[in-house]
């Protein structure tokens, strides 16, 4: 069972490294959208510093959602997804391999590039570590929840717009706790409570969402 998991994980990483644009495009989107904000607001250091967490988080949310589009699509189109349902290992377990690989390809680079962008938005050094921590706890949750939406819409032609309708409301708790944690840190309070909540949400989505994803994929494959 674990062997199948590892095979799928390796395969997805390999495919991504062969087609690097998949890794790079969401990152470029992330960088470009974030640099739009100072251009629209003006070089106002106090204001930018205040809304930087919101900008980074909303953009990260959108970038994750866009990057998820590829999670199941090519496997759905060439039929390998159907083969995967026939394996002995449960589909709910195998999809976690795909999501983990996908997070390594898109989530991790996004976190790595954030310090650079945070400097552009004048984020002080003290909040930087908390910012990275919220992203580290939050982006896997976004991938897991988003995967449910992707699994439901993978067979549809206008899947993209509907996907955002389905999953953006579900993203709101993560957004709220992450930005609250950052606001608290900026005001000199502890952000432990919010980080603990984010971890709890992550654990909950790791536990439950694979079943929803597998069920949704089976409906889409029909």
């Amino acid at each position: 069972m674990f062997n199948a998991w590892l095979q799928i994980f390796k395969r997805d990483l390999l495919i991504a490294f062969r087609r690097r644009s998949e890794i790079i495009h969401p990152l470029i989107f992330f960088v470009m959208v974030i640099s739009l904000f100072p251009l629209a607001i003006g070089d106002d250091k106090v204001l930018l510093q205040k809304i930087a967490p919101a900008i980074i988080w909303v953009t990260a949310l959108l970038a994750t959602m866009l990057s998820l589009d590829n999670l199941f699509r090519s496997d759905f189109e060439d039929g390998s997804l159907e083969q995967m349902t026939l394996l002995k290992s449960p589909l709910s377990l195998l999809v976690t391999a795909k999501i983990t690989a996908h997070w390594f390809i898109t989530g991790l680079p996004l976190i790595l590039i954030t310090p650079l962008l945070a400097v552009l938005l004048y984020v002080p050094a003290e909040t930087m570590s908390i910012l990275l921590l919220t992203l580290l706890l939050g982006t896997p949750t976004l991938s897991l929840i988003g995967a449910v939406g992707i699994a439901l819409t993978v067979g549809l032609r206008q899947g993209g717009v509907i996907l955002s309708l389905l999953i953006l409301p579900l993203y709101i708790p993560v957004l709220i706790f992450a930005t609250l944690a950052l606001q608290n840190t900026a005001q000199g309070f502890s952000a432990e409570a919010q980080l603990a909540m984010m971890l709890a949400i992550l654990v909950l989505s790791i536990t439950l969402s694979p079943f929803a994803i597998a069920a949704a994929l089976k409906v889409s494959l029909n």
């Binding site: 389905l166 579900l170 709101i172």
Partner: protein, 252 residues
């Protein structure tokens, strides 16, 4: 025959489309009639008999529409998710149709709660909208409903669509408490709940009775309009089946 066997038999009978069509047709006038009586009684009690609020004046009377609508918004989402799960597990066509027919009604009640809340907010908080926790979670509930309806409309095959929607509704149910509490901690300005404190309600009995009448009236209205939607959907889906052709021939 034991009681459980009786219930099971009744359950299977109701799940059969021709039976449900016939029975719901018989019940519908009574449900809507009772709704009208309770609705008018509730309105009369609320708008004319109930005393004025010493703090909020006459403006509080919108509570008789606002609060029942807000109750319905969450209640219908629960019905949608539970019937969706029943349809998903036992593949009962009627449960699927009940689930998806509830969505537009629930969305309308949610919208009604938002609009009346906004109208109430203007004299009380002096603004049409505040990013208050309860208003925000109601808005998010509306988004969840819209997502469900969008997904259902996007999938061509309606049986597949019903199953997809059921999964989405269940994911939504798990998320609703998380969304609710995250928003609650984020910001709250709304007055505390009026009714949930059962030991000592913070509302006078002359105000409470019309409110409860309206709540029951709204429930009946939901059941009535649900029946109408389900009956239409049943006819549309089963138009080639024998019982529908027989029904139509009988009407000629």
């Amino acid at each position: 025959m034991s009681i459980t066997a009786n219930i099971t038999r009744l359950y299977h009978q109701f799940a059969s489309p021709p039976y449900f069509y016939r029975i719901s047709g018989l019940w519908l006038p009574y449900i809507m009639g009772l709704f009208l009586i309770l609705f008018l009684a509730g309105l009369y009690g609320g708008l004319i008999l109930a005393p004025m609020d010493y703090e909020q004046g006459e403006a509080y009377r919108i509570i008789y529409v606002h609060v029942p609508a807000a109750w319905m918004s969450l209640f219908i989402y629960m019905v949608m998710a539970i019937t969706g799960a029943i349809g998903l597990i036992w593949r009962i066509k009627l449960a699927e149709i009940v689930s998806i027919s509830s969505a537009p009604i629930g969305a309308s009640f949610t919208f009604l709660a938002l609009v009346t809340g906004s109208i109430w907010g203007k004299p009380m908080w002096n603004t049409w909208w505040v990013w208050d926790a309860r208003l925000t979670s109601e808005l998010l509930l509306l988004f969840l409903y819209l997502g469900v309806m969008a997904l259902y409309n996007a999938i061509e095959d309606k049986r597949t669509a019903a199953r997809a929607v059921a999964i989405l509704a269940l994911v939504g149910v798990v998320n609703i408490p998380i969304i609710h509490y995250s928003v609650e901690w984020w910001n709250t300005l709304h007055q505390g709940p009026t009714i949930t404190k059962f030991d000592k309600p913070s509302i006078h009995i002359s105000m409470l009775i019309p409110l409860l009448l309206m709540a029951v009236a709204f429930k009946l209205f939901y059941i009535g309009s649900l029946f109408m939607r389900v009956r239409t959907e049943l006819l549309a889906r089963e138009q080639k089946s024998k019982w529908v052709t027989q029904l139509l021939e009988g009407q000629k």
